[in-house]
């Protein structure tokens, strides 16, 4: 059926894309004036300086370094962090990813669930007070920057009164505020998406068919409306998962949470070039992989897509 060929082609394309991203990142990062060890080595003796430069490869010209870096990436060797002495980039990623992933998944679970619920209520009460309240709330919520929302939560809900820590990452309690801070973006997005999807389905003729059968309104909604309304929702979910796993820069920064986002910002601030390089490639690879897997799954699962392809041939 040509499915394998299709998958392989996509996979090849993905590898090429990743290679281009890695190269572009390499040259961008190396265009940064100065390097992270220049400041540190300012007052060091020449021999030590040379040794350090050699250790991080800054003694070699650009092209050989490019070759070394790319060869390293192929083997999964992302190099050493220049700031966190003695730590390799993959090690740092491995220790930060679970933090970001947990926070992100918690945000998503809360946010998406609430969003879908609100979307359903809003669509079924279309044009009535509950709908207006939800839609106004969603419009309002997207206008509050995550940054501001995090800060407000921190200002008003953290501290002795509630027992919720102001910053840091230790135990479930410390995850509550950051989870809420990140969740509402998903809530307003999925509430709007769900509402428009349901309204779209309700306008379809097959809903009229269902109504013409004399089944209960509840059954029309659950069996016919919701089931079909979830199809477009599902297409957005994998990307949401990927995005949330890679961390939310601002929430992590506000609450000082040691996740990927926070460390990315720190690495950029400290000009930790190998970290920036490694993190960028890692995040890009993760996102590309999700897109690839989603694509493949859809081809396998949704027979309508298969049908369209058959129709074209």
């Amino acid at each position: 059926m040509g499915f394998l060929k299709y998958a392989l082609r996509k996979l090849g394309l993905m590898v090429v894309t990743l290679a281009i991203i890695a190269s572009a990142t390499f040259f961008l990062v190396n265009a940064v004036p100065g390097n992270p060890i220049a400041a540190r080595t300012l007052r060091m003796p020449e021999t030590v300086k040379a040794e350090l430069y050699a250790k991080y490869g800054f003694d070699k010209p650009l092209w050989p370094r490019y070759v070394i870096t790319m060869r390293g990436l192929l083997r999964g060797d992302f190099g050493m962090s220049a700031v966190y002495e003695g730590d390799t980039v993959p090690n740092i990623i491995a220790s930060k990813l679970p933090v970001s992933a947990r926070l992100g998944l918690q945000q998503m679970l809360v946010g998406v669930t609430l969003g879908i619920l609100l979307g359903v209520v809003s669509a079924l009460k279309n044009g009535r007070a509950a709908d207006f309240a939800i839609i106004a709330l969603a419009a309002f919520a997207v206008s509050i920057p995550q940054l501001v929302f995090s800060l407000l939560l921190q200002k008003f809900f953290a501290g002795a009164k509630t027992g919720l820590p102001i910053i840091g990452w230790s135990g479930f309690k410390s995850t509550i505020l950051p989870t809420i801070a990140g969740a509402f973006v998903y809530t307003s997005f999925y509430a709007r998406l769900m509402k428009s999807s349901i309204l779209d389905v309700i306008g379809q003729e097959y809903i009229m068919t269902a109504e013409s059968k004399g089944i209960s309104g509840f059954r029309v909604v659950t069996r016919h409306v919701l089931r079909n309304a979830f199809v477009p929702i599902i297409t957005y979910l994998p990307m949401t998962v990927a995005m949330c796993v890679t961390g939310s820069f601002f929430v992590e920064s506000v609450f000082t949470i040691p996740g990927l986002g926070y460390y990315y910002v720190k690495s950029v601030q400290q000009r930790d070039l190998s970290m920036v390089m490694g993190l960028t490639v890692f995040i890009a690879a993760l996102l590309l992989a999700v897109v690839f897997v989603t694509d493949i799954l859809y081809k396998l699962v949704d027979p309508r897509i298969r049908l369209e392809r058959a129709g074209k041939r």
Partner: protein
Amino acid sequence: MAWRILRRNPVAMAALGLIALFLIMAVLGPRLRGIDGGVINVKAKNAPPSRELWFGADDMGRDLFSNLWLGLRVSLTVAVVCGAAQIVLGSLIGGLMGYLGGIVDVVIMRVIEIISSVPGLLITMIVMMILGNGVLSLLLAISITSWCGTARQIRGQIMQLRETEYILAAETLGAGAWRTITRHLIPNTAGIIIVNLTSSIPQYIFMESGLSFVGLGLQPPNISLGTLIASGQVHMDFAPHQLLFPCAALCLIVLAFNLLGDGLRNALDPRLRR
């Protein structure tokens, strides 16, 4: 037509009024009270809002009212410049792709796909790292990824228009390329561009304040809403006004753009008009 529908939408008109007000205040605001926001005044250190200092003062006694509008100036500059960059670059590149097609189209399309597969914030941060902090580098760093979405949509629209009969008719009737562009392409793509713009301007304002907040955009002594919020966070326990006023300003400006955007979308999308 679209304007007439928009004018009947009170929410969108209120948002437009708010944006206009903010624009005026960004120009006049810093000088309105006759207090130089840059002057350090030890006596007014962390002063709460008062009749003299409407929004209070920061940890060095500087007037927050004057500085807030200075910060807003940066936000609005980002909105205008990056928005303009998005339109100009997007239409130009998208137009090129749609009109030339072939290898140009394929190559640029690949570039867009590659750029879009990395979160825009990462690219912006890396570019900021190269260019250093400052308004100009910030504008450049945000603009650099801004054009992709618009270009792709303009390209799609042009491809679609070229298929439709009336362009064909116009071309066979001997209308020049210029006429085709002004009479057919621009009216048909203007809607897409505007809708695109209103949804991305809040993103740009977000990005600026976020980057400045974490120290990657503007840095003190430069003032933006992000830097104000960052220093406000430090003193939020005993001088909450330092955090709340800039936060409120940021929320309001983004809300105004979002509401105007919603209004425009409704006015421009004929499918929603029913």
